[in-house]
């Protein structure tokens, strides 16, 4: 690397030796130069170096005489490249012939190295200096070696130096000298300083593995094919076919059967759709169940307890089928309702009365014809507390949930989702819905039903096309009528409705039982006022029901152990019965105005006939196996002399009433037995008048 400018060389090697001006430095640099570049360009150094060695002559050197040595041979060095071709011809289109090209590139490049030196007066050097913030006087020209400033502080070890270029080794020394003399100068790093490091990792051990599969099994087959063999084979086959044809003719029926059987099998295996055999399997299930429970079916139809004749008045209940569904085992029966059209079908609403054990619920339909498995199953996300089947359209089922929703299921529709369901937007109750009841269709022939809830609202729901439209009928309040005081002036405390019933004849009249034990007689038309309030019970009214025959009489029951019978025109009860346990439900019989049944939490069914005994039940019978089981609901079948009772373990038990419990008034001899509702009304009226007379007389 020829360096023409001493000035630059010095400045690089010294690094930061201050140099005032290009003119003044010449002395200094020349002296320094001698130190550094001894042996390179001074003659003394060369002599000293050559003295120590004897000249060796190559053996094949030409021996020349003195004269020959003295003769001068002139050689001229030219700039021509001896390797450059001289006979290049190119085709000239102009002259249409090949022409030698006169100009040949004579330059040959043997080595190129970009220098890292800068002239200190050059623009780039100035820019660098400005960048580093150094004063112009300190003519430090540093090119691209800044990153190497972190060079190890310890002097380079000889081993390291050994790997360096000789010139670099020399460079280092003056550098260290300079640092000794002038310690303030920052150390100039040198770009040739490097060290080699290497390491070797452990190689993973190699392992060979191989396996061989067994070749597929082979076998050898040999045969000969020629015309006569082929002919024989065909002839044989034809003979066989003929024989089989004869056989077929002999037993065609059997074969046909086989084929049809096979076809059946095929169709069964081909279609995994179980729907095809759905109906058949249903019939089968019923047949099997009726065979198994044949004795129960016989009892249901024909058994009359003969011992009743000797018991005078009292009657018994004969347990028939027990209905239970495995998936609803943990739930308690919260609602029962017979289908009015199909008298063997009834609906069971499953939920939970326990506040802390709320979960999902289930709506199931059982038929008396199949006690083993429900006809319909609708799982619900919230527990069911009440339900009602529409009287005319028996496929419509209104359901009230613990979460305050009401829904309508359509048994005709496929799927387990209700066809209508109230949401938070569409007037859902904020508390459990305790009772729902279908009403006659409104003037636009829309189906509608009512619901009552603990949030104190009685709401009418109308099924319009595909939505449920709600109308608040009444808001129950504690202190009498809601209309007391101006609206909004005081927040009337809410009374929680727990049950209601609509009058059988007078369309607008209905009763609402509340959690406080009061029963309010209300009208659909007056939303702000009660027609009457009865101080009925000391605890929540569990059920309130109008008599099926007598238009004035209704019954109520409560957890305060009592069942009371009322004349709605008088606000004291006509009858009061203490059943010695919380009464879950009460129901009037559909065949007599004076018969009703009640269930209590101790697992007993109480059946009363006021016509026979005004003071005591004519039948008190525990009907559950375990003592802890509580009975929750009871319903009379509208036609057959049976009742169904539900308990808190999810069981529904059907019971047959013995003849004494459905006794008609004895007819006098020769007289025709009077029948019809008038008789029933008269019977009740007679009883009531007996009670009324003394009362009125006392008043």
């Amino acid at each position: 690397m020829p360096v023409s400018n001493n000035n630059v060389v010095a400045s690089v090697r010294k690094g930061s030796i201050a140099q005032k001006a290009p003119g003044a430095k010449s002395n200094k640099t020349s002296s320094k130069k001698k130190d550094e570049e001894e042996g390179v360009d001074t003659g003394d150094g060369w002599d000293e170096w050559s003295h120590g060695k004897a000249l060796t002559k190559p053996p094949d050197q030409l021996e020349l005489t003195e004269e020959e040595l003295k003769t001068e041979l002139t050689r001229i060095l030219t700039a021509n490249n001896p390797h450059a071709p001289q006979n290049i011809v190119r085709y000239s289109f102009k002259e249409r012939s090949y022409k030698p090209t006169s100009v040949v590139d004579q330059m040959a490049v043997h080595f190129v190295l970009d220098g890292s030196l800068l002239h200190q007066d050059s623009d780039e050097a100035r820019r660098l200096r400005a960048k580093e913030g150094l004063p112009e006087e300190t003519a430090t020209v540093d090119t691209g070696t800044e990153p190497e400033e972190e060079k190890p502080e310890t002097p380079a070890t000889p081993v390291e130096d050994g790997g360096e270029v000789g010139e670099a080794g020399e460079e280092d020394r003056p550098d260290s000298v300079a640092s000794k003399t002038d310690k303030k100068e920052p150390k100039i790093t040198n770009q040739f300083n490097f060290s080699e490091r290497a390491s070797q990792t452990l190689n993973n051990p190699l392992r060979e593995r191989s396996c061989q599969t067994e070749p597929p099994p082979r076998s050898i087959f040999s045969a000969t094919a020629n015309q006569w063999e082929i002919y024989d084979a065909y002839a044989e086959e034809l003979q066989k076919q003929e024989k089989s044809k004869e056989k077929q003719k002999a037993v065609p029926s059997k074969k046909d059967n086989d084929i049809s059987k096979k076809k059946m099998m095929l169709t069964e295996t081909q279609s995994d759709d179980i729907g095809k055999v759905d109906k058949a399997s249903k019939i089968f299930e019923r047949m099997v169940n009726q065979n198994i429970f044949d004795d129960i079916a016989q009892d249901f139809k024909y058994f009359e307890d003969a011992s009743d004749e000797f018991r005078d008045q009292e009657g018994t209940l004969l347990p028939l089928w027990k209905f239970q569904y495995d998936k609803a085992k943990r739930l308690s029966v919260a609602a029962l309702c017979w289908n009015k059209k199909y008298q063997d079908l009834f609906a069971v609403g499953m939920g939970s009365y326990d506040f802390s054990k709320q979960g999902c619920g289930m709506l199931v339909f059982y038929s008396l014809k199949n006690s083993a498995f429900p006809e319909y199953i609708y799982p619900t996300s919230s527990g069911i507390l009440c339900l009602d089947i529409h009287e005319q359209h028996s496929y419509l089922v209104a359901v009230g949930f613990y979460d305050g929703c009401v829904a309508v299921y359509n048994l005709k529709e496929e799927g387990v989702e209700p066809v209508y369901k109230s949401t938070a937007k569409t007037g859902k109750h904020t508390d459990p819905v305790w009772q729902v009841r279908w009403q006659n269709d409104d003037m636009d022939n829309n189906h509608n039903f009512y619901s009552v809830s603990s949030d104190g609202r009685v709401v009418s729901w109308t099924l319009v096309k595909n939505e449920l439209v709600f109308t608040d009928i009444i808001r129950l309040s504690l202190n009498g009528a809601v209309s007391e005081g101006p609206e909004g002036a005081q927040q009337p405390s809410i009374a929680c409705g727990t049950s209601f019933d609509f009058h059988k004849q007078i369309d607008y009249l209905f009763l609402v039982g509340t959690e406080e034990g009061k029963i309010h007689k209300c009208s659909k038309t007056y939303s702000s006022q009660y027609l009457e309030t009865y101080d009925a019970h000391s605890m929540a009214v569990d059920a309130v029901k109008w008599n099926h025959f007598h238009p004035k009489v209704f019954i109520s029951c409560s957890s305060d152990w009592t069942v009371k019978i009322w004349d709605h025109t008088i606000n004291t009860p006509m009858f009061t019965f203490d059943l010695l346990a919380a009464v879950g439900d009460v129901a009037w019989s559909p065949y007599s105005s004076t018969v009703f049944a009640a269930v209590t939490t101790d697992g007993t069914v109480h059946v009363f006939d006021l016509n026979i005994n005004k003071y005591e039940a004519i039948c008190q019978q525990p009907v559950v196996a375990k003592k802890k089981t509580k009975l929750t609901h009871i319903e009379f079948n509208p036609i057959y002399p049976i009742i169904i009772v539900g308990d808190d373990r999810g069981y529904v038990t059907s019971l047959k009433l013995s003849p004494n419990l459905r006794k008609k008034p004895k007819s006098k001899k020769g007289q025709e037995m009077p029948k019809g509702p008038e008789v029933e009304v008269a019977k009740m009226e007679k009883l009531l008048s007996l009670l009324r007379e003394p009362e009125q007389s006392t008043v």
Partner: protein, 106 residues
């Protein structure tokens, strides 16, 4: 004349009666057997005059369907002894005068 007429009739009868494919020997599973048989019938009917083309067609289709390597022999008279992979052999007659042997051995 009558004799020859009868002979002709018999021949026609024979052709008519013996046109169906008749499996002489096979160890293929049901599904494969049916497919192979149908293929052979199709090929022999397509190349009724050229047994080589029929054999080629059968071989190529079988290679495609069931993997290589299949071998097919079609002819009116031949004898053979072959080594085949188990469950991959079909030896059948067809059309009254043709014998077809299809086997796999790779």
């Amino acid at each position: 004349m009558a004799g020859t007429g009868e002979g002709k009739k018999e021949e026609a009868d024979y052709k008519r009666l013996h046109s169906f494919p008749l499996i002489r020997h096979t160890d293929m599973p049901e599904e494969m057997r049916v497919e192979t048989m149908e293929l052979c019938v199709t090929a022999c009917e397509k190349f009724a005059t050229n047994n080589e083309s029929a054999a080629k067609m059968i071989k190529e289709s079988m290679d495609k369907k069931f993997g290589s390597s299949w071998h097919v022999v079609i002819g009116e008279g031949f004898g053979f002894e072959v080594t085949h992979e188990v469950k991959n052999l079909l030896y059948m007659f067809f059309g009254g005068s043709l014998a077809v042997c299809v086997w796999k051995c790779s």
